[in-house]
Amino acid sequence: MKNKPYLINRVIIISSIFSIIIFIEALILCFSKNEILLDLISKFLIVEPIIFLSCMYFLVIVPFREINKVFIAFSKNYTKQDLFELRYGINREHEAMLEELNKILDSNNIIKASKKQAEYLALQNQINPHFLYNTLESIRSEALLGGLPIVSEMTESLARFFRYTISNTDTLVTIEDELDNVNTYWKIQQFRFYDRMALSIDYSDVDEKIIQNTKIPKLILQPIVENAISHGIEPLVEGGIIKIRFLVTATRLIITISDNGVGMDKNTLDKLNNSLRGPRLNFEKNNSNDGSIAMTNVNTRIKLIFGDEYGMCVYSNKNLGTDVEIMLPIGSDKEYEKRSA
């Protein structure tokens, strides 16, 4: 930040140089009798304003426009990162203010708050986890003793799901762990929906080692699957299918969660994708129950951890399903650990 060129300094330097030049020229014009010199200065006086305006345009106005674009994007919640990675500064005080703002909008705090919100979203209420596990275990034992294996199985799945969701939200998980949790969640939902829904997880194009070893932020898949069920497939009488696909490029992991549910109209989709452009820093204000809160929450966490170039986008067609594309970097576990510590 300290090495950034300040625009106000440029204005001062350019103005000063030109002021001095004009002063010298004025002195020469007043006191010199050398005709060649006078002729030269009078010619230079014509070119001078053009040089001055060009300097101001390229060295001040163009960079200022660049800064302005970022301010607009920030005000619309499209970016946070770009604001603190500006190539130019306005002045030192302005930079100090931005630094202070960066501390207030500290990613770690927002990530933590966002994680907490993920827990609340999953549970809806704050429940003492140990009390919950113990109670569920008791129900399971009673169900087994009473000869109710399905109830026992349901309870076991529920307990496993809660344990994963509530405990150690600060840690990284492997894709495998996250998929296990999706499967557990799916199992619970199947008791409700039976054969109305199907889940297909396809990572055939991806090296198994990547699935086993690559770490991703916890609870990014299950909320999207939950959304796909409750907003996509549940309204369908005939049921539907959810597909999770993985693709790995040299730098990115792309996870696509598709459903063939009711989809969404253009306006809803545009609104949602606009909210996914940047991290949502005022997430506590969002009380909507349309599923976008889970998506923006996951998106915000990804963007805060990995930067603006990663995150989510949604493709949807009314009555023809929805695809949620999650983009994550490959091989940045250390970075994440550092930031989420």
Partner: protein, 462 residues
């Protein structure tokens, strides 16, 4: 793991208050052939320009070969290393093939050109592709397919990683297109990625690894290999409904071509039945040109004869009054943009009513008759700001007013997006319902078949 050749992230592009790209996200990996089917063409031109030339964005970022080249904040100056193959070749016709490939390209700085060496280099590639093109021949002598292939070779020689191919199928026959697809796959295996723009799923499924559906400035669906089937994609695309209203008599032949021979046409036989919609498929541009000129009497036959069965005494008069031609891309080639809607609509109507000055009364009666169907656009004094749908209305309703016996329509669906293609099909059906015999001269199959009563394949101008 494949490198990402192109990544566009949340791109929003606005010009003159119109949003051309709206939060568009897409990516292409190395060696991948990604098909793009556009439901509407709004923003397609801008998307290509964005990828090739880094046009200013309102929001979003563009990465090429994993380097950030364009953001809403700043952009890399100059063109990107992306190759565009369009319908019209960018090769210099007067130069030889090897000169076009190796000399006329960015970064070539040698002052002395060793043509022999370059030709030998090109021969090697051509041999690998099983092609018999002479590297020393002028590009002007090449066929359309050969031109496109040479452009592909040039793309590789230029060292690009991404090639954009836009709607070239409109200029190629089916067999030529298949050959081109094979060559595309060859280059894809060598690491070049392709963004392949076309209108039809059949064409795209044949060659692409992944398909993106585009509509109004954004990607609305990504289709993977397992999703690439007609049943599934038809859910997302509107199709032209199959329509056949032919009620004529099969013996009522309006024109008969008997063993005709000309410069490029050899022993061509064809009967056109009154009231039918006949499609001639696989027509090359040279065939279309010659066929129309022969039918109009502008080109003399070397052999054979044409029978105009409703002929009066004067052949020329019959041809002038009874045969109409709608050219390819009629918005560009068949309208007068400085004239009003009505002037365009009533163009040549003076010949039909055999009066050199058409009275206002006549114009007014046409206006009253068609206002309900054509809407308030009919009152426009300038047609420049009208939609493509409205401009196509002028072209086809003009034929309806002239009511010729037969109309030849050249590549009717060329350059049209999904919505416009459906509209054009409706206009063709309208002409057919009015009893006008229609001959569609084209190399596109899918759309044409849905409006035709009968189709014939043209193979090697026979």
């Amino acid at each position: 793991m494949k490198k990402e050749v192109l990544r566009i992230s949340n791109a929003t592009l606005e010009e003159g208050g119109i949003t051309f790209l709206n939060n568009l996200n897409m990516y292409i990996t190395q060696g991948e052939i990604v098909g793009l089917i556009a439901r509407s063409y709004l923003g397609i031109f801008e998307l290509i320009k964005l990828i090739c030339q880094n046009t200013p964005l309102k929001y979003g970022k563009v990465y090429l070969n994993e380097d950030l080249v364009n953001t809403y904040i700043y952009r890399k100056k100059g063109d990107n290393n992306v190759f565009l193959i369009d319908q019209n070749s960018r090769l210099i016709k007067e130069l030889t093939v090897s000169e076009n490939v190796f000399v006329v390209r960015k970064g070539y700085k040698k002052y002395v050109v060793n043509i022999k060496k370059l030709s030998k280099q090109l021969e090697g590639i051509l041999k690998e592709l099983n092609l018999s093109i002479d590297p020393k021949s002028a590009v002007g002598n090449l066929t359309t397919l050969e031109l496109y292939i040479i452009e592909l070779i040039k793309a590789e020689a230029t060292g690009v990683n991404l090639v954009i191919i836009r709607n070239i199928s409109e200029k190629l026959t089916v067999s030529e297109l298949n050959k081109f697809h094979d060559i595309m796959k060859f280059f894809a295996n060598r690491g070049i990625a392709f963004l392949y723009l076309a209108n039809h799923q059949d064409e795209i499924f044949n060659v692409c690894d992944r398909v993106v559906l585009y509509d109004d400035g954004k990607i609305v669906k990504n289709l993977n290999k397992e999703d690439m089937n007609d049943e599934y994609i038809k859910l997302f695309l509107k199709q032209i409904k199959r329509n056949s209203v032919f009620n004529g008599q099969k013996d009522d032949k309006i024109i008969q071509y008997i063993d005709i021979c000309s410069n490029n046409i050899k022993n061509f036989n064809l009967d056109i039945i009154k009231g039918e919609c006949l499609s001639l498929l696989g027509c090359s541009p040279s065939f279309i040109d010659e066929f129309i000129n022969i039918t109009n009497g502008n080109l003399k036959l070397k052999d054979g004869k044409i029978l105009y069965n409703n002929l009066g005494k004067n052949v020329k008069k019959y041809i002038n009054n009874s045969i109409s031609v709608i050219p390819e891309l009629p918005i560009l080639n068949g309208l007068f943009h400085q004239m009003s809607y009505m002037e365009n609509l009533c163009f040549l109507v003076d010949k039909k009513i055999k009066k050199s000055i058409v009275s206002k009364k006549y114009y007014d009666s046409i206006k009253i008759e068609f206002k309900e169907e054509l809407g308030t656009d009919i009152d426009e004094n300038k047609i420049d700001k009208l939609s493509a749908t409205s401009l196509y209305n002028i072209v086809y309703y003009r034929v309806l007013i002239l009511k010729p016996e037969i109309v030849f329509i050249i590549n009717p669906f060329s350059g049209a997006d999904m919505y416009l293609r459906i509209h054009i099909a409706k206009l063709i059906i309208k002409l057919k319902k009015e009893g006008i015999t229609i001959v569609l001269l084209t190399n596109q199959i899918t759309d044409v078949l849905s409006v035709s009563d009968r189709s014939k394949w043209i193979k090697a101008e026979k």
